[in-house]
Structure formats: structure tokens, C-alpha cells
């Protein structure tokens, strides 16, 4: 009986070893994202579909791409566990992740220690690329670029007396603190009001009532989608007049916000990486494709960034010389890293070119530095946005 048990354990161990060994000759990519959201599922599906399409068209230089999608629920411990599984157990060549800055931050250390390239689809927190890992690349726009564009535009066109409220979420916090710091630096002003709320807050009116008495030029809200919509609606309920400009962080570009907030979204101003009212042909085609495939009416920058990421990965993989054997894993990983670092002047859905370079500095690794300034013209199901400007920031902007 006892011997039988030991045999079973050994057999199980051997199958695990066999399973890992059998899957050579493929390029393995692990993606950890917040899959428990509507968009998370859809762009997860989009990644899967795109890599399937690449495989159907003959793969990358003959090799198949295998995508392993995991959910981290926006929790750092789960994200770290996923990343560890990718790099040590699944032996992936590339890690994609994560959606949330608070998950990407610790994963950067995991991939740096294991020496696996990591490419980030959505996280905007500026510290991610400032850790000095030579293995990390960022496709979305760093918070340091957003804040610069926002501060300059807001300070010159709207005013400098601003009240800030933000939800406890790493990206919202980085965006809000960034704008505050930049207003200090560019115009020497302190916030008129500074308040924080919980991630899923339902009642912002006590903050808003206090802001109402302060006679501010603008109110900035950094939050996720539903709370942001509530905040905007409640700002009118407490009687903050319409000529006080409502500013928001890039989550305002997510489609549910204008649908939920209705008329309260009108005039809201934010910066993002992409707008679906972009009139370039590539953007129009992309909007059409997303509508047909995933029934997405209004394509936000989460989709465009995921798309750009796939294209960049495709280019890099095609350029990298990979052997794809068990022994060459480390060399292949380094080759992919160098191939991504060599991607330069990629023209995609992003409003400006995306370029990386070899040094492990934020200048090299924050690839996209062209935020779009967007204003909502109307809300509801058929909301409309207008593009105010596109600004390509200098590479070293916002660095000490």
C-alpha cells in the first residue's frame, strides 16, 4: 500500500516534468490581467484571438505562439503568484501584465530577478519603469507624461485653483498626485482641496459640499469607472456650477463612464492614449473591427493599447532570433528583450510613435509619450468626444 503511494507520487512528478519538456518549439507568452471586468475579458479575448490569427497565418518564423491567460483580480499577491508561475513553471519567453499598477509594480521585481522580458499593457504608475529593471517595457503612457500635458493645458486654459479627489487605486493616486506636483512645479500652486475616497465609494457629497465653498476653477477626480460617474453626477447635485471645469484621469475614457454619468459628463476633460473619434484611417478600421468582433460600440484606450502591444510583440518576435529549445530559454528571453528594445518608431493606434531603447531607464522604457487631450461633448449611450490636442512629450519629462 505504502509503496503504491510512493509510486503514484513519483509518476505524478514525472508527468509534470514530461509536460514541461514536451512544449518546446513554441513561443510561450504569459499574460496576467484583471480578467474580472467587462473590458478585461474582452481585450483578453482579443489577445487570444490575435495570437490565434498569427498562428493560423503560419506563426512567428514557423514557431507557434502559446498564450497563457491568468486573472489577478487586481491583487498584487495573485499577480506575483501568476508571474512566478509563468517564469518558473510555464517557462514563458515573455510576460504581459498587468492591468493594475499595484500589480505591475511588484511583478517588475519578479521578472527582473528571473530575467524574463515583461511588457505592460495598461499600468500608468510612473514608478514601474523607474525601478531600473532592464526587462520591463511599457506600451501605455506613463503618469509622468499625462500630468505634464494636463497641468500645462489646465493651468493655461482653465485655471490653477484646483480641488482634487481620488479613489484608493494605484493608478488614480499616481495620476492625481502627479497633476498636483506638476501644478506646483509649473505654476507654484498648492491644491485648493485634497481628499481621498474608497475604491467603490457611493457618496462623494461631503467632499463636494466642502469644495463648493472654495470657489475653485476646476475639480479633478481620479477614480475607476462607476465611482467616477457617481462623482460627476453628485457634483451637480450639490450645486457646483457648470462653469467649474470637471477634470478626470484617464479612466474617464472607459465607455461605461459617459453612459452612466449621462449629461454630467459634458465638458469633462481628460487625457488618454486613444480616442475613438480619432479620424485616422487605422483608427476607423480598428473601431469597426472591435464593433464587429466584440460588440464594442465605443472603443477606449484599453483596447487600443492592448492592440498596439500585440503588434509590438509580433514585430519583436519576428525580429528576434530564437532557438526555442529547453537549453536556449535564457538566451531566447534575452533575445526577445533586445528585440523589443529595438522596436523604434512604431506607428499604430497610439497617437504618436512608440519607441524603446536598450538602457534600463524610464526614458527608454516608457515607449509611448503622446497623450491626447480629450473633452466630452455629450454623454449617454451615444456620447461624443472631441480631441483638443495631441502632445508628444520630451522623453525625460517628469524625471528628477
Amino acid at each position: 500500500m505504502k509503496r503504491l503511494g510512493t509510486c503514484a507520487v513519483l509518476a505524478a512528478l514525472m508527468t509534470t516534468v514530461a509536460a514541461t519538456a514536451a512544449s518546446a518549439e513554441t513561443i510561450r507568452i504569459g499574460a496576467t490581467m484583471r480578467m474580472i471586468s467587462e473590458n478585461g475579458q474582452k481585450y483578453g479575448q482579443m489577445m487570444q484571438d490575435e495570437f490565434d490569427a498569427i498562428n493560423a497565418a503560419g506563426g512567428i518564423n514557423g514557431a507557434e505562439v502559446e498564450l497563457i491567460l491568468l486573472n489577478d483580480e487586481c491583487k498584487s499577491d495573485k499577480g506575483v503568484a501568476n508571474a512566478n508561475r509563468f517564469v518558473y513553471q510555464d517557462n514563458v519567453h515573455l510576460v504581459i501584465g498587468s492591468t493594475c499598477s499595484s500589480v505591475s509594480l511588484p511583478i517588475v521585481d519578479v521578472t527582473a530577478q528571473a530575467e524574463v522580458p515583461q511588457i505592460i499593457p495598461h499600468s500608468t504608475n510612473h514608478e514601474i519603469t523607474q525601478k531600473g529593471s532592464e526587462w520591463v517595457f511599457r506600451v501605455p503612457i506613463s503618469a509622468r507624461y499625462y500630468k505634464g500635458v494636463m497641468a500645462k493645458y489646465v493651468g493655461e486654459n482653465i485655471g490653477t485653483n484646483i480641488a482634487y479627489v481620488y479613489a484608493s487605486d494605484a493608478a488614480a493616486q499616481a495620476d492625481t498626485e502627479g497633476l498636483r506636483d506638476e501644478m506646483r512645479q509649473q505654476f507654484g500652486v498648492e491644491p485648493a482641496y485634497w481628499g481621498q475616497t474608497q475604491e467603490k465609494e457611493i457618496d462623494f457629497r461631503s467632499h463636494l459640499l466642502k469644495i463648493k465653498t472654495l470657489d475653485v476653477d476646476a475639480v479633478f477626480i481620479g477614480a475607476l469607472q462607476e465611482p467616477m460617474a457617481r462623482f460627476l453626477v453628485q457634483s451637480y447635485e450639490v450645486g457646483i456650477p457648470a462653469d467649474v471645469k470637471r477634470l478626470a484621469n484617464s479612466s474617464a475614457s472607459n465607455a461605461p463612464v459617459p453612459k452612466l454619468a449621462g449629461d454630467a459628463i459634458k465638458g469633462v476633460f481628460f487625457s488618454a492614449a486613444y480616442s475613438d473619434s480619432d479620424d485616422r484611417q487605422i483608427a476607423q478600421d480598428f473601431n469597426q473591427l472591435m464593433k464587429e468582433r466584440y460588440d464594442v460600440d465605443k472603443v477606449d484606450h484599453d483596447f487600443s493599447q492592448a492592440w498596439d502591444l500585440i503588434r509590438i510583440v509580433e514585430i519583436a518576435l519576428n525580429n528576434a532570433e530564437l532557438e526555442l529549445t529547453d537549453e536556449s530559454l535564457a538566451a531566447d528571453r534575452a533575445a526577445i528583450r533586445d528585440a523589443i528594445a529595438n522596436v523604434s518608431d512604431y506607428q499604430g493606434l497610439a497617437s504618436g510613435p512608440i519607441s524603446f531603447c536598450a538602457e534600463s531607464t524610464p526614458e527608454c522604457r516608457d515607449g509611448n509619450r503622446t497623450p491626447v487631450l480629450i473633452e466630452y461633448l455629450s454623454g449617454g449611450e451615444d456620447f461624443e468626444v472631441g480631441i483638443l490636442d495631441r502632445v508628444t512629450m520630451p522623453v525625460d519629462f517628469g524625471l528628477e
Binding site: G5, M35, A81, N84, I107, D109, A114, E127, E199
Partner: protein, 348 residues
């Protein structure tokens, strides 16, 4: 099956007969080569995680399983332990050997705070009071810049001993192992002592416990403080593990439910149960990682199913197995004796 379950039991008993600490030393030696039996680093990472969870669940088991106090605040104390260690390491550059005891001490102070309502409250009321405490702590961390608020607190240094840094999962395992074994050993020793019996008396009936001279308040508070020390230790070990980053999302009510599940699945009031629970839950959670939200659905179903159909957990099943075995053995023995007697009578 008999052999598999009975052999280690007898072995442990034989070792313990020589010296009570001997089984633990043997366990330590047996567990030493574990990282070399795994196929990759990820599995060692999981094992380290299981270690933290064992300490956390054992602590919860002491206050909940043995002393019968329904607390939902354990995860808050765990968070306090982790953040104490993190703050001392990040802002004051203190070594692990100071942050860990400090985390335990601070946690114990908060253990007093969580335990205090238990003087007057029971069951549902105590659960709600501790839930309020847990929520307040979580919100406080989220809005306090000093604690990293929503961005999390990173850069917690790896423990260093005589210039040797425990900065890989493998080395961290060897740091963790003595702590885990000591935590389990202490739990066993505690529960065999008069304190442990007092805990159980309080659990069964506080009124009659008081009548027999047990200072109910003192023992309730003691149970909370000891379990808080466990949570503090688990928190500090989590904080210092690579990549040395903690975030309030790791200490929410869901994490509390996970620990509860470990204790309940393993068997409430059964130390081995909590350990088995910690191992099983971590491994099952890992195996179901590819299923996204179906994983959470399955997790919910396991919780409900365990409570409904297996309220004593796996530990309870094992216990029952041994109880029924000794019952069968006793019955067989009696039957044998009766038969011999009858045979003797027949001859006579």
C-alpha cells in the same frame, strides 16, 4: 490505508516517548531537502506561501477553534504585522531580526484591542465588532500616505543573517521552516497545557468555566493575544518575502474568508486540520488558476459545501477514522476475550 495513517502516528508516538522535541527535529530534517524535490522555483514560492498561511491559520485556530471566539479581525492583525515590519524595514532600515519581533509585539497590542470586545459580546455581535475593526484598519491603510496608501509599500528588504541574504525563494524557505515548525510546536504545547484546557472550557461553556474557577476574561484575552502574535509573525514573513511588496488589497475580507476556509476545511479546533487546510487550499487555488472567475465560484462552493456537509472538516474525518478504528479494535478485543472465555467454559 491503515498503514499509511497509522505508521506515522506510531512513529511520532515512539519518538515523542524518547524526548518531546524529537519529532520536531525529525520533521525539520525530513523537510530540509524539500526545495530540491520540486521541479521549479514557482513551487518553492507556493511552499513559502503555504508556510505563511499555516502560521496564520494556526493562529486563527487557537482563538476560534480552541477558545471559540468568532473573530473576523484576524486579517487586520495580519495586515498590522505586515505593515509594522514593512515600515521598520523601509523607513528605518531595521533588519528582519528586529522587524519580526516588533511586528509580533505590535500585533499583540492590537490583539488586546480585538479581544477586548469579547468580554461582552458573543457570536454574531463579536463577528460584527471584529468586522468593523478589520474594515477600519483596511480603510486606514488605504488612505494613509505613510503606509503607501493605494500604491502599496514596496522595497522591503530581504532578511540577512551574518552577511547571508535570504533573497531567493529557496533560501527564504530555510528561513521560514524553523518559524513554521516552531509555530506548530508551540500550538501543540500550548493546548496540552492547562491554558489550552482553560481555552476549551471557555469554548464549551463560559459560565461553567467561570464556575470552576477559570478566569474567562483573562483566557479570552490571552487567546486573542496569542493568535495575534501568530498573525504578526505571518505578516512579517509575508512582507519580507520577495518581491518585498505589500498592498491593502492583500488584506481584504476575501483573504479573511480564505483563512477561515483553511481552518474550516481542515477542521475547526484541530491543529493538523488547519495545517492540512492551508496546504490544500493553496494548492487547489493554484491548480484552478486558469479558470478565472470560475475559480472564485468553485471557491465559494467549497466553503458552502464544507460548512454544510463536513462541518468538522478533514481533520474531523481523520479523527473519526481513528476513533472508529480504536472502537473496532476494542470491540474485537472484547469479542476475542468473550470467545476465549466461552471456549474455556465449553471445555470446562
Amino acid at each position: 490505508m491503515d498503514v499509511v495513517l497509522q505508521a506515522p502516528r506510531n512513529g511520532i508516538a515512539r519518538l515523542a516517548a524518547i524526548h518531546p522535541v524529537l519529532p520536531w527535529i525529525v520533521a525539520f530534517v525530513v523537510l530540509l531537502p524539500l526545495p530540491y524535490l520540486t521541479t521549479n522555483n514557482y513551487q518553492i514560492y507556493l511552499i513559502n506561501h503555504i508556510g505563511v498561511m499555516i502560521i496564520l491559520a494556526t493562529g486563527l485556530n487557537i482563538v476560534k477553534g480552541y477558545c471559540g471566539q468568532v473573530t473576523v479581525g484576524h486579517v487586520a492583525v495580519y495586515a498590522i504585522g505586515a505593515y509594522t515590519a514593512a515600515v521598520l524595514s523601509v523607513y528605518f532600515a531595521m533588519p528582519f531580526w528586529i522587524t519580526l519581533p516588533s511586528a509580533m509585539i505590535v500585533s499583540m497590542l492590537f490583539g488586546v484591542l480585538v479581544g477586548f470586545p469579547s468580554f461582552r459580546l458573543e457570536g454574531a455581535y463579536l463577528a460584527l465588532a471584529t468586522l468593523g475593526f478589520a474594515q477600519a484598519v483596511e480603510v486606514f491603510i488605504r488612505v494613509t500616505d505613510y503606509l503607501g496608501s493605494a500604491s502599496g509599500l514596496g522595497g522591503i528588504k530581504a532578511p540577512v543573517l551574518f552577511g547571508f541574504s535570504f533573497d531567493t525563494y529557496q533560501t527564504y524557505y530555510y528561513l521560514m521552516l524553523p518559524f513554521v515548525l516552531f509555530a506548530i510546536y508551540f500550538a501543540f504545547a500550548l493546548l496540552k497545557s492547562s491554558t489550552g484546557r482553560a481555552f476549551m472550557a471557555v469554548r464549551e461553556d463560559p459560565v461553567s468555566a467561570a464556575a470552576t474557577g477559570v478566569n474567562v476574561r483573562r483566557y479570552k484575552l490571552l487567546a486573542f493575544v496569542i493568535s495575534a502574535a501568530y498573525a504578526g509573525m505571518a505578516g512579517a514573513l509575508l512582507a519580507h518575502m520577495r518581491p518585498g511588496y505589500i498592498h491593502p488589497n492583500n488584506f481584504t475580507i476575501i483573504e479573511m474568508v480564505v483563512v477561515l476556509l483553511m481552518v474550516v476545511l481542515g477542521g475547526i479546533g484541530n491543529i493538523w486540520g488547519a495545517i492540512i487546510g492551508a496546504i490544500l487550499v493553496t494548492i487547489i487555488a493554484d491548480l484552478t488558476r486558469d479558470l478565472y472567475h470560475y475559480q472564485l465560484l468553485a471557491f465559494g462552493l467549497v466553503i458552502v459545501g464544507t460548512v454544510l456537509f463536513m462541518p468538522k472538516g478533514i481533520g474531523g474525518l481523520i479523527d473519526r477514522y481513528f476513533v472508529s478504528r480504536s472502537f473496532v479494535a476494542a470491540r474485537d478485543k472484547t469479542a476475542e476475550r468473550v470467545r476465549t472465555q466461552l471456549d474455556g467454559d465449553g471445555e470446562g
